[in-house]
């Protein structure tokens, strides 16, 4: 049986960040990185741009073979883990071969969640999580006129935009009354929706599909309210869920994801998890959450890598803060932190500014004079500084009014003073 000191399963942001952290502290011991894909590492986040053609598929790779050679990393492609044996400290691959490890990082990410809609299983439909998915969707584009995107989350909206730009007539079906409900409130979402409508994307909100039926190569969706949609292509983007099935019987504790502590360690002493697969402490909640965003995967990966390499500088994970950035039709929206509804109501202040003409929106949520959330559409502020202000729980003190008036400049000054 092959054996490696560090075994990393997965090759996206959490895995690469962990690898980087390990090699900063430990230049020598063997590292093996497994990916189920047949390619160099890439990010799921870039895939909508591969679909649209903005990103050339051969230019999206995050590392090359030279990097792995230089850092003495054994990078194995096409290696899907189907079983983990924590007693024997070994994993079993799909081809039956086994790899033993001293320390294991699970960074297997998430997979598309398919809704239980009658007729879906019998259809030919697309999802968008792997490079192969993206290339399949891109290949289909020239042959289609109408598309249904199921789900108005980030992946669905990105895909809808790129399909529309390719001249396809797109309908987005979203169960919630607004798109991107996880990150933006109704007013901000409405602004984003307006831009989509103006660009010819049909948004069916508060709607759900009752059933699907095949129509030759195409499909027909019947909505709960009786509307019928015909399309040449169906993209299912109703969310993702951590990939944990292969952990059945492994002894690794899972909830919705793999449960980890503040060093990203699971209940098994030599197994860690990071990124979209991990369920870790939230910054605003007592419960462990799946944050499922790229910057958090990078953070978690670093902490896991440092802990695995026993880097004495390892710090506790501060907890997941919901955040995201979203660009659409040349405009952009940013969300950092939580809305007032997620907070205990004492000491909460909310300031909201909207300018419909400019399609500009800014909302700031403070709790006890500290930043809890900031949300903008076409508003200028630095999300990285805002995130840090939240994590450091910086008391805005006398700067509070200045911050509410001019968050970007005030936050930059606070940053320059506080983390010198």
């Amino acid at each position: 049986m092959e054996h490696t000191h560090y075994l990393i399963v997965g090759a996206s942001h959490a895995a690469l960040s962990a690898l980087h952290a390990i090699r900063l502290h430990d230049a020598e011991r063997d590292v093996t990185l497994l990916t189920r894909d047949d390619s160099l590492p890439y990010s799921p986040t870039v895939l909508p741009y591969v679909v649209s053609g903005r990103s050339a598929p051969d230019r999206v790779f995050l590392r090359d073979d030279a990097y792995f050679a230089e850092h003495k990393v054994n990078y194995l492609r096409g290696a899907r883990v189907q079983k983990v044996d924590s007693t024997a400290s070994a994993v079993e691959l799909a081809d039956g071969s086994k790899i033993g490890f001293d320390k294991l990082l699970l960074a297997t990410g998430a997979a598309p969640l398919l809704p239980p809609i009658p007729g879906l299983a019998g259809l030919k439909f697309h999802v968008l999580r792997t490079l192969a998915d993206a290339l399949a969707l891109r290949g289909a584009l020239p042959h289609i006129k109408r598309a249904i995107v199921l789900g108005g989350g980030l992946i669905g909206m990105h895909a809808a935009e790129n399909l529309a730009k390719g001249g396809v007539e797109v309908s987005v079906v979203e169960m919630q009354p607004h798109v991107l409900a996880g990150y933006f409130d109704a007013d901000a979402s409405a602004m984003i929706e307006k831009v989509f409508a103006a660009n010819g994307v049909r948004l069916l909100l508060g709607a759900s599909v009752a059933s699907f039926a095949p129509q030759g190569e195409a499909c027909r969706a019947k909505l709960m309210d009786g509307t019928v949609l015909d399309a040449d292509l169906l993209l299912v983007a109703t969310g993702v869920a951590p990939v944990t099935e292969f952990l059945a019987g492994s002894g690794v504790e899972t909830g919705r994801g793999v449960l980890v502590d503040a060093h990203m360690r699971t209940n098994v002493a030599n197994i860690w998890a990071a990124g979209d697969v991990a369920q870790a402490r939230g910054f605003f909640t007592q419960d462990r959450i799946i944050n499922g965003i790229l910057p958090d995967a990078v953070d978690q990966g670093r902490i896991a890598g440092m802990a695995m390499a026993e880097d004495p500088a390892t710090k506790d994970y501060a907890g997941g803060v919901p955040l995201n950035t979203y660009s659409f039709f040349g405009q952009h929206a940013v969300s950092v932190g939580v809305h007032e509804g997620a907070l205990e109501q004492t000491g909460v202040e909310v300031k909201k500014q909207m300018d419909a003409g400019e399609n500009r929106y800014l909302k700031i949520v403070l709790k006890d004079r500290r930043l809890a959330g900031i949300f903008g559409v076409n508003a200028a502020f630095d999300p990285g500084i805002m995130w840090e202000l939240i994590l450091r729980a910086i008391d805005l003190g006398d700067e509070k009014l200045a911050f509410l008036r001019s968050p970007q400049d005030t936050a930059r000054a606070l940053m320059s003073k506080n983390w010198r």
């Binding site: 999206v60 952009h332 200028a380 630095d382 990285g384 500084i385 320059s416 003073k417």
Partner: protein, 449 residues
């Protein structure tokens, strides 16, 4: 050896908010005066100003956050480069940056960031108040890091002492063809001459008496020269061994023009033997032999100006240096090494003593910097041809209190003692400026054979 990189340093108190840096950046990058497109952003903060700019982080989070491989850190220059042909405008890099160093620009419709202008930042050139500084010290470390460290690992200096830094850098630069003399003091004390029959260096080292360092080195250099070998003779000595009991042989060797590089590491006293005063201990300082009590209040005499005494020997090269200004120190080290091939070179390096001066061990370089910023220490160099020149003139010196109050050895000073120190510093400065003005006259005997 890992790479060290260049960076732009911001001194908030010096910034007057003129925003010339933003204009210069916008012009360099967009040929406009639009401050919004400047990669450097000055923001008001209370009465003063603060800065947002890319720090070209050593371990950049923006790069790790980029899903499109559009950001990368150049291993040579350290600059984080943005590739517009790969960028997908997702703005996740702006989430990763906690410094506001990469931000969305609505005019160009993509993120913008500082690229250090290929090593000559336009903003720094435009900064007249001197709030921005292009720190290029990394170049030294990149170059010297690849040279062999000729001292053994694990020398046991006091925590926070800069002497080990001075020793290692000096010998790295000089290289292996050298004989080193370390007279009694901190330098042999921390293990450079070695223990149990082993030396602390990878080159020949010996331990002269306090009195005869320069004369022994003179013999060593002459011996090798006669046998046709170009071996440097280098002293790494303390201020006590140099200014006081070793001065007679030093003065003689300098006067004869012996081909020696004599480095005095000045910590203003006999620090390894219990912190006694030396001729270099400044006025007012506490030492164990200039105690502070009911009647005594520290040293009652001024320090002798040893480097200036060496100028008066008309040495091939004389300079003062500080580890807070490594580029300056390195330039002088290079000049001194060169000068020692044909005559006497003397380098006087200030070494704040964490133990004997009583300050926290993480503050050494800060103390050294304050000494220069208050004109307590003047950085200059001299050679017979060009005379004396200040290499780091400080025009608006900080008040001397800022230096004195960081050091326990001055804690007892009465106002009149501070005034005395101020007078001494003013005299020193005037005297040095006099030498600067009288360029060339001290070098009547230039071109010693």
């Amino acid at each position: 050896m890992g790479a060290a990189y260049e960076t732009i340093h911001f001194k908030a108190d010096a910034c007057d908010g003129c925003n010339d840096c933003m204009t210069a950046c916008a012009q360099a990058k967009t040929q406009t005066d639009d401050h919004l497109q400047s990669r450097i952003q000055i923001v008001p903060s209370g009465e003063g100003f603060e800065l947002a700019i890319c720090r070209q982080c050593g371990d950049p989070e923006c790069v790790l956050n980029c899903p499109a491989a559009a950001l990368s850190k150049n291993a040579g220059s350290g600059v984080i480069a943005w590739d517009g042909s790969k960028c997908v405008n997702c703005l996740l890099c702006t989430v990763g940056c906690a410094y506001g160093g990469i931000a969305y620009d609505s005019v160009s419709s993509h993120v913008i960031k500082c690229d250090l202008c290929d090593g000559a930042p336009a903003c720094v050139k435009a900064c007249t108040p001197g709030a921005l500084k292009h720190i290029t010290t990394g170049r030294i470390y990149n170059e010297v890091g690849n040279l062999e460290d000729l001292f053994a690992p694990g020398l046991s200096g006091c925590q926070g002492c800069n002497t080990e830094l001075i020793m290692r850098h000096t010998l790295r630069r000089i290289g292996p063809d050298v004989v080193v003399a370390t007279p009694p003091g901190c330098i042999p004390g921390m293990g450079s001459v070695g223990y149990n029959g082993l030396t602390g260096t990878k080159v020949p080292v010996f331990h002269p008496l306090l009195t005869n360092t320069a004369s022994m080195l003179a013999g060593v250099r002459r011996f090798y020269k006669r046998s046709g070998r170009d071996v440097m003779a280098v002293a790494l000595a303390g201020d006590g061994g140099t200014a006081d009991v070793g001065f007679q042989s030093l003065s003689g060797a300098a006067e004869r023009g012996e081909e020696i590089l004599y480095i005095c590491v000045d910590n203003e006293g006999y620090m390894n033997t219990g912190m006694q005063r030396s001729g270099c201990t400044p006025y007012g300082a506490w030492t164990s032999t200039t105690p502070v009590g009911e009647r005594a209040h520290g040293k009652t005499q001024d320090a002798k100006n040893l480097p200036l005494l060496m100028v008066m020997h008309n040495c091939n090269y004389v300079a003062t240096a500080s580890t807070a200004y490594m580029e300056d120190l390195y330039e002088k080290l290079d000049h001194a090494i060169q000068a020692a091939k044909t005559g006497f070179a003397y380098l006087h390096i200030y070494s704040p003593c964490t133990t004997g001066w009583r300050f926290p061990s993480d503050q050494n370089v800060e103390v050294a910097r304050k000494a220069v910023e208050t004109n307590f220490v003047l950085l200059w160099e001299f050679n017979p041809e060009d005379g004396l020149r200040l290499t780091h003139p400080v025009d608006n010196a900080r008040p001397i209190d800022e230096y004195l109050e960081t050091l326990g050895k001055y804690r007892h000073l009465a106002p009149e003692q501070v005034e005395h120190i101020e007078r001494t510093l003013a005299n020193n400065l005037n005297r040095i400026r006099g030498f600067v003005a009288a360029k060339g006259t001290a070098s009547a005997a230039a071109g010693r054979a």
